[in-house]
């Protein structure tokens, strides 16, 4: 029997505000335990939550970016459960009336096709604190710095049919929330977390199978691995005549497996009710319009523009768009320049990205900023240097503020385009390698690259490759 996979994702995006959702405590990551936990975050008696306007603005941004319905009168609710890192005994969340209603995004899949994923809702809630189990011998330590940090929980419809689609959607949302500057997307620090609802059903069946919810997916790789494992587990169960149990499972990246986390018997009895401390959250039309006017160009708009305006391939456009800073770097390099956008794209995707990866540096802090990069590319474009020498110049420019022209001048890297100089070098190489010349003339044409290499080496890489090739072919034919 063939099986169909059905996946829905719940993504928790930590909103990039300075202060918490219901208190004025800082949300900065990495502070000493409990130094950013106020009386409100601790749930002390007599305190009242006051909603952060920045959180509301970010939720509206997300709604605008996903063509979603905005609930202009939304409501906070209490989700009741007991855990030591939740001091109030309830989490303030949204249930019946989430601020962001139905929306949709269209994501590109690796095979070049597109798929629309519907978003059910996105609601505001507060994060819990952190439990530390390995620091004290018989106790659990509680750090409430994270308690009250604003989250936007983005819930998709069960629209994805493979791990690949789920990863493409998660990556899309990840790029989107960074583009619209509502989340820093830092998965190591837990700013962007995924839970996956996964089920399988016989191909052609319209009802969904029983699902399992997989938690703790803090990288795209883990998301993919966990789905692949879970789908296989469920199919095996069903083919052996067993049933899938509806439960929460934890992905263990070290063992690459999912395992049951808690039984559902008493789970999901959160007894939601409207929070009496918080009257409805009203979002006026004027507020929405103000947020709309401050929205940056959205990824889907920019992608289309990159492909049309700069004649980039969809793949190159996607790579450059993966984060906003890279897209902006690209456009800054092109600003006022005459060279082909494709040249800039290749250099940013290739040389620059490689260097940034190696040095674990982000593009905003790249040693070679757009104006210096632009001059380097202009010198390749006008033939002053070859692309290969360009890489050498780029390496020389990294870590200091020398211009491309300075480096080319100081190191004597200007391309040799003087025909007689190139001819002289070719003659020397031909004279020094009579047997290879004979073999070449005897039909072993792939020896051409040997000669090109030898002349290039003699010119210290500076010979114009086009001229070199042409003259070399002629000389080899006639010598």
């Amino acid at each position: 029997m063939s099986w169909e996979t059905v996946i829905g994702l719940e993504i928790h995006a930590q909103l990039a505000t300075r202060s918490k959702i219901f208190s004025g405590a800082s949300t900065a990551f990495g502070a000493e335990p409990n130094t950013q936990a106020s009386a409100v975050d601790l749930g002390l008696p007599g305190v009242l939550p006051v909603v952060n306007a920045g959180v509301v603005e970010m939720a509206v941004r997300f709604a605008l970016a996903t063509d979603a319905h905005i609930t202009q009168r939304s409501q906070f609710a209490r989700k009741n459960y007991f855990y030591p890192d939740l001091p109030k005994g309830y989490q303030i969340s949204q249930m019946a009336l989430p601020i962001v209603g139905e929306g949709a995004v269209t994501v590109s899949l690796p095979d070049g096709s597109e798929k629309t994923i519907n978003i059910t809702r996105a609601h505001l809630e507060e994060d819990a604190g952190k439990s530390v189990h390995d620091l004290f011998p018989d106790k659990t330590g509680i750090d409430l710095n994270r308690a009250g940090t604003p989250l936007l929980e983005i819930v998709s419809e069960p629209d994805m049919r493979s791990a690949e689609e789920a990863v493409a959607y998660a990556r899309y949302i990840h790029a989107l929330v960074r583009y619209i500057e509502i989340c820093d997307g830092n998965m190591q620090e837990g700013s962007f977390r995924c839970d996956a609802n996964i089920s399988v059903r016989p191909s052609g069946q319209s009802e969904f199978g029983t699902r399992a919810e997989i938690k703790n997916l803090n990288s795209f790789r883990f998301l993919e691995r966990a789905i692949l494992f879970e789908v296989e587990r469920q199919i095996e169960l069903l083919e052996d005549g067993h049933e899938v149990v509806q439960e929460t499972r934890l992905y263990d990246s070290e063992k690459d497996e999912t395992r049951s986390m808690r039984s559902k018997e008493e789970a999901n009895d959160y007894r939601y009710f409207p929070d009496p401390d918080l009257p409805p959250l009203v979002v006026e039309d004027a507020f929405i319009e103000q947020v709309r006017s401050n929205m940056p160009e959205l990824p889907k708009v920019r992608r289309t523009r990159f492909i049309e305006q700069y004649k980039l391939t969809p793949t190159d456009a996607d790579t450059l768009m993966a984060d906003r800073a890279t897209a902006e770097y690209f456009e800054a390099v092109l600003d006022g320049q005459k060279f082909a956008p494709k040249l800039a794209a290749n250099w940013i995707i290739g040389e620059l990205s490689g260097r940034l990866n190696k040095e674990n540096c982000d593009i905003e802090h790249a040693s070679v900023q757009p104006s210096r990069m632009a001059q380097l590319l202009a010198r390749i474009e006008d033939g002053t240097i070859s692309g290969k020498i360009g890489k050498q110049v780029f390496d020389e420019m990294w870590g200091n503020d020398a211009s491309a022209d300075d480096v080319i001048e100081k190191k004597g890297l200007k391309q040799i385009t003087d025909t007689s100089a190139i001819e002289a070098m070719i003659d020397e190489v031909i004279a020094a390698n009579p047997s290879q010349v004979a073999e070449y003339q005897g039909g072993k044409e792939k020896l051409l690259s040997f000669f090109v290499g030898a002349v290039m080496k003699a010119s210290k890489g500076k010979a114009n490759p086009g001229q070199l090739n042409q003259i070399l072919r002629e000389k080899l034919k006639s010598s």
Partner: protein, 95 residues
């Protein structure tokens, strides 16, 4: 609506409230009466009345996104039974 004593046990468990056997039946009777009162409300015709999560016309006031709280860990942890290295300590919890 009539509750059973098992309902009472379940509600007490969810609320982490200790209820001894002897109190179950009186609690069951009391809570059933309360639910009965609420059921009476169902008799009212609410057709055309917009559902509300909150009484009155109150709406949220928002505050600007600014850090206004300082570190008051020492004072806030003072009433806590046990703290160490800045953490609140609780009995060991393992998932």
């Amino acid at each position: 609506m009539a509750l059973t004593t098992d309902d009472i046990k379940q509600i007490a468990h969810l609320a982490r409230v200790g209820v001894d056997e002897a109190s179950l039946e009186p609690l069951r009777a009391d809570l059933s009466t309360v639910l009965g009162l609420i059921e009476d409300l169902n008799a009212i015709d609410t057709k055309g009345v917009e559902p509300m999560a909150h009484p009155g016309n109150a709406q949220l006031r928002l505050r600007a996104d600014e850090v206004s709280e300082e570190n008051r860990r020492e004072a806030l942890q003072a009433p806590s039974p046990e703290t160490e290295q800045g953490y609140f300590l609780v009995p060991r919890v393992i998932e």
